[in-house]
Assembly symmetry: D3
Homo-oligomer: 77 residues x 6
C-alpha cells in the first residue's frame, strides 16, 4: 500500500526493547507475537497479520518491542 513502503525510519516512540521472537500465533486479522528479552522476561505484542507477514517475522528473529511512552503503565507489588 502507498505510505507503507516498509522502509526503515527513525520513530518518536521512546521504547525500543530488544528481544527474540519465541512464538507467533496468527488469527484472521490479528497476530500475537511473544518476544523473549535478555533478562528472561517476555513481552507480548498483538499486531495485524498483514504486518506480521510484511515484516517476515519468524521464531528466533532478533526484533524490537516498540511502545509509545504514553502506553506504558507502572505497577507496584
Amino acid at each position: 500500500m502507498k505510505g507503507y513502503a516498509g522502509d526503515p525510519m527513525k520513530i518518536s516512540a521512546r521504547n525500543h526493547v530488544p528481544g527474540t521472537v519465541k512464538s507467533i500465533k496468527k488469527g484472521p486479522v490479528n497476530t500475537e507475537v511473544i518476544l523473549g528479552l535478555e533478562g528472561g522476561a517476555e513481552i507480548v505484542s498483538v499486531i495485524t497479520t498483514y504486518s506480521a507477514e510484511r515484516l517476515g517475522l519468524k521464531e528466533g528473529a532478533k526484533v524490537f518491542a516498540i511502545m509509545k511512552a504514553s502506553e506504558v503503565m507502572i505497577g507496584v507489588d
Copy 2:
C-alpha cells in the same frame, strides 16, 4: 539511553502517512506537533519532548505520522 539508538528500523505499525511539520509546541514532558498532509488535512501528534528533540523536529521538515491500526477509529457524519 540504551535501546533507543534512534537507528532507523522497519516497524509493524500499519500507518505511515507522509506530512510536513507545520508547528511544534513544547511542554515540560510532552510536545505537540502538527503535520500538514498533501490533501490539505492535518494530523496532530503528542510525543515526549525528549523524542521531539531527539528527532530534531523543525517546522517544514518532511516526516511521517505513524499510528498502529488498532488506535485508529472511524467516524461517520
Copy 3:
C-alpha cells in the same frame, strides 16, 4: 447497548482525517478497514466487527479516520 446510541457527537480526539473506504476485512471480533486519503496516502483502522456493522461501513463511503493525538507517533526517514 445502553450508552452506545450511535448518536452523533463532538469528540476531543484531535484528528479527523477525511477518507474513502477502500476495503473491509472482517474477523470474528475485529474488522480491518482501509481508507484512501485525498493525497493518495492510506490509513488502516482495526475496529470491532460490531462497530463496523453498527456504522454500516461500505466500500466507497466517505468517513473520517479519528485518532487521539497521544496515539500518533512521528517517523523520520
Copy 4:
C-alpha cells in the same frame, strides 16, 4: 484546523459512558478532566488543552467518556 471542524459525528469507539465534569486541570499541552458517573464511580481523561478549550468543557457539563474497546483492560480483585 482543517479536518477538525468539531462537527458532530458517529464514531466506531464502542464505549460512550455518560458522566458529569467534576474537575478540570490544565497544563501547557495536556488537560486532565475528571467525570463523575451515575453510579458514583469516576473516570479520568487526559486530552489536549486545545481540545478541552475547543469543546468548551466546564464543571457540571454533561459529557461522555469515549474509549476504544481495545484500550480497556479488565482487572480482578
Copy 5:
C-alpha cells in the same frame, strides 16, 4: 509466561471502574468482554483470549474496567 504471574499489584492506570461481566465473545486471538456498570451504562473491552482465560472471566463476575487516562476521550452531544 515469565513476568506474568498474574499476581495482584497496584497500577498507575487512573481508571478502575467497577462492573459485572455481562457477556464474553471469544475469537482466536482476541476476546470481547461487556461489563454492566452500576448506573446502567456498559463498557466493552477487547483483551487477548489468553488473558480472558488466565483471569477466569465468567458472566456475572465482579471486575473492573481499567483504562489509562490518556486513552479516554471526551464527547459532547
Copy 6:
C-alpha cells in the same frame, strides 16, 4: 477518588516487565518515569503526576512496566 482505591488487583494486560526506577521527571499533568530492565535495556513510561504520587514512586524502587499487548509494536532493523 472513588473507584481508585489503589488496591492491588490482577489485570488483563499481558505485559508485566520487572524493572527498577532510574529517574522521574514531573510536569503539571504528566510525569515521565524511566525503568532499567535486568538485561540493561530501558523502558520509558508517561503516567499522570497524580498516579506517580499515588504509587509513591521513587528512584531505586522495584516496579513493573505494564503494557496491553495491542499497544506493543514490532520493529526490525
